[in-house]
Point group: C2
Chain length 163, copies 2
């Protein structure tokens, strides 16, 4: 089970957009340059994030992307689900209803016990991500990154911010 790289990109992008003033934006091209990832493919994910209502896109000249709401109101789960989808990782194919010991369909009302456990685990996973916001990610960066990295990031951002 492997998670799409797009999720990692999206979270980094969200963290960067969190320090962009609400009236400004960053283009897909600038975001891909800053993170060193393929622009055309990142754009796909940015569109998904916009559709999900996590980012906001400003079309036209001087357009770009920004957060759709305050960084403290966007959870990591919001971003993950926007990129990776809301489908469960574990899909129950109702094995219990197959084979020689299977009975009539009415015998299988509730969720299969095995699926139940897997769903619970995924819910625990989501709970963790739901309790961390983009603002938290930013705090972590400010707390742990070297001063040099923070200065370089801020400088680049100042230079590239669109109107």
């Amino acid at each position: 089970m492997r998670m799409s790289d797009g999720v990692e990109w999206a979270l980094h992008v969200a963290a960067v957009l969190a320090v962009v003033p609400p009236d400004k934006g960053l283009t897909a091209a600038k975001l891909s340059e800053f993170h060193g990832v393929p622009g055309a493919y990142l754009a796909k994910h940015l569109q998904a994030l916009t559709r999900a209502g996590v980012f906001e896109a400003v079309p036209g000249r001087n357009g770009g992307y920004r957060l759709a709401r305050a960084a403290k109101d966007i959870t990591v789960l919001d971003v993950v689900e926007a990129v990776d989808g809301r489908a469960r990782a574990f899909t129950c194919s109702e094995i219990r209803q197959r084979g020689p010991a299977a009975g009539p369909k009415s015998d299988y009302r509730g969720v299969c016990g095995i699926a139940r456990v897997m769903y619970d685990a995924e819910e625990a996973y989501r709970d963790t991500l739901r309790n961390v916001t983009i603002e938290d990610l930013l705090s972590s960066f400010v707390k742990h990154a070297t001063t040099g990295t923070q200065v370089r990031s801020a400088t680049w951002l100042q230079k590239e911010l669109s109107s």
Copy 2:
């Protein structure tokens, strides 16, 4: 992010093997028949489970598979990791070290804050699976399945148990 179907198969197989007496076994062919899944492919997963020390394989005539230890001592996580591997779903590609704002490698000692959150979530996922045993799965089946299903399963098992 989608989990391999093999995990579902393996958990169902483990639940069935949990009711097989310790001195008996079930062949890969019988297990695939009982669950209505492709035999050759299930065999691959059974081998992985054996390598991981979750199942025990008895080669030769009258051979088959059985649990390597008591059902209460095998967790769902054991089975999931045996089939799906122990690799993390989220892989950090150190995006922070790329792009125009990147600094020298020594600037990035600890784990990236974003990766940290994703790792924590996966640990919460694993914690859930670690706290459910194969015996628990069996209890759930006994508690929730209809009597008819349980009788049909037991009957089939009686008939097919190898010596």
